[in-house]
Structures are given as C-alpha cells and as structure tokens.
C-alpha cells in the first residue's frame, strides 16, 4: 500500500521531579531577579507530563508504527528511571551546568530518545504544569 499520509504515534508519560533554577554564571541577586521563586534554595517539584511523537511506516502485520512495550521500555530506561523522583540538577549530570528549565528538559529528553531504532522521533512536548508546556522538534 502506498502511504499518502504522514502518520505519527503519540505517547504520554508522567514523572514527578524537583528542580531549582539557578545559574552559577549569575550573582545571587541576579539569580533571584531572573528566576524568582524558582530560585528558592531547596528547590520545588512538578508532576511532569512528557508527550513524544514518532513517525514511520505502519507495519501491516501489527498495525503499528512502533511496538508500545518496546517504546515504553526504551523511554522508561532513558527518561523515567533517571528523572522520576529525582532532583534534576543534583541527580542528572546534564543539569549540573545547564539550568533545568523545561526548555532544557525538552532538548535533553529529545537527545536521549532520538536513537529509538523503530521509528523517527518527531517531537518532545512537556507539560510542567497544566498551564505551561514546551515543545522541541529537534531543530
């Protein structure tokens, strides 16, 4: 069958984590001004929702772009396990230097998931709260 459509599979995952927005390149006062409450010294947490979308041919034998249990295992190993119930700047090496904003979280998660072998990663969209969301398409 010739596919005239572009089809994507979207999957949402959830994990809680804490973070503190603080840049070593800024003074205490500047950090306070730029990041406000998010700069509070002991950090705070969110229930993050990570939405990822993959594209690729739909396998005619399975009806799927990607097998969900393979995808879930891949995402669990690379994102949910290392990030869930963690302090992002203390427990995730990428955020020792990089401020753990949700913008940076999007690009870091994209980096970790783009090697999924069965389909092409199209986008990572993260809801930090139900009012704030961020999306990165890899460019």
């Amino acid at each position: 069958m010739i596919e005239t459509l572009h089809i994507e599979l979207g999957r949402r995952y959830h994990f809680p984590a804490s973070h503190r927005l603080h840049s070593a390149k800024l003074s205490e006062e500047e950090n306070n001004r730029v990041f406000g409450k998010c700069n509070n010294p002991y950090g705070h947490g969110h229930n993050y929702t990570v939405e990822i979308r993959f594209s690729g041919p739909v396998d005619s034998a399975t009806g799927m772009i990607a097998n969900l249990s393979e995808l879930d295992a891949f995402v669990n190993e690379r994102v949910i396990e290392p990030f869930g119930h963690r302090s992002l700047q203390d427990d995730v090496p990428a955020f020792r230097e990089l401020v753990p904003t949700t913008e940076n979280l999007c690009t870091e998660i994209f980096k970790r998931l783009k090697s999924f072998p069965a389909a092409k990663l199209e986008a990572v969209r993260i809801e930090e709260t139900s009012n704030n969301s961020f999306e990165y398409e890899g460019n």
Binding site: L5, I7, R12, V58
Partner: protein
Amino acid sequence: MVYLTRKLEFSASHRYHNPALSAEENRQVFGKCNNPHGHGHNYTLEVTIAGEPDPVTGMVLDLKELKEILDCEITQRMDHRFLNYEVAELKNQIPTCENVARLIWNLLDTKIPQGQLHRVRLYESADLFADCYRNGAKGMA
C-alpha cells in the same frame, strides 16, 4: 489560513490479532491486547479543518455541517461497536490507533465541503494517540 478543530468521543471495543501469526506470536507481539474477547476504550477524536473564513459567514466550515458529517461517518459507524467485526473497512487490519486514525482520515477526506482536512488526532486513551496529516502538509500548522 485558519484551523478549526471539532472534538467528539465514542466508545468501542477491539482486539489485536493477526491470523497469519501463531497464537504464541500474537501473544508476544500484542500482549494483553490479544485477549480473545477484546476490550474497549473511550476514544476521543479531534478533527482539524484548514481554510480561509468565508467573507460573508466568517466561517471556515459551518460546524453544524461538520457535526453531521462526523456523526454519519464516525459515530454511527464506530460508537458502541466492536471494531474488528462491525467496521467493514477494518476487517483485515489490526484496529490499532494508527489504523483507525487512517481509516477516519480516509472516511472524512472527501466529505469536507469547505476547507481541507488538515489533521485527524485519535486518542485511544489520554496517554496514547495517533495523528494523520496529508503528506507534506504537516508543517503548515
């Protein structure tokens, strides 16, 4: 270009099973979705139409018309049905989110009287969905 989206919900059951595979292979590939008597979901469908608002009515497409098309093509065909057995177009397909979304696209694409079908998004649950776009038209949103 303006994008108009209409949402609707329907409930249906399905089962993932490929007769070309052995019972064991079916179990391995599809897991719980292969359970013999099927299971169901509350599906949420979002249909997005792209077009220019009509200068007189201010509408891309009259929502009443779209509602009727969706009711006739989708709700009546799929709501409270067992997709494998009662939707003829799915008889030889695994009724995954991807395949059902593609079928919905094909059912609607030629029926939209004004504007163009831009995206079909079908949620099988809050955490799983499939999107369909015409090849090459996705970036227009």
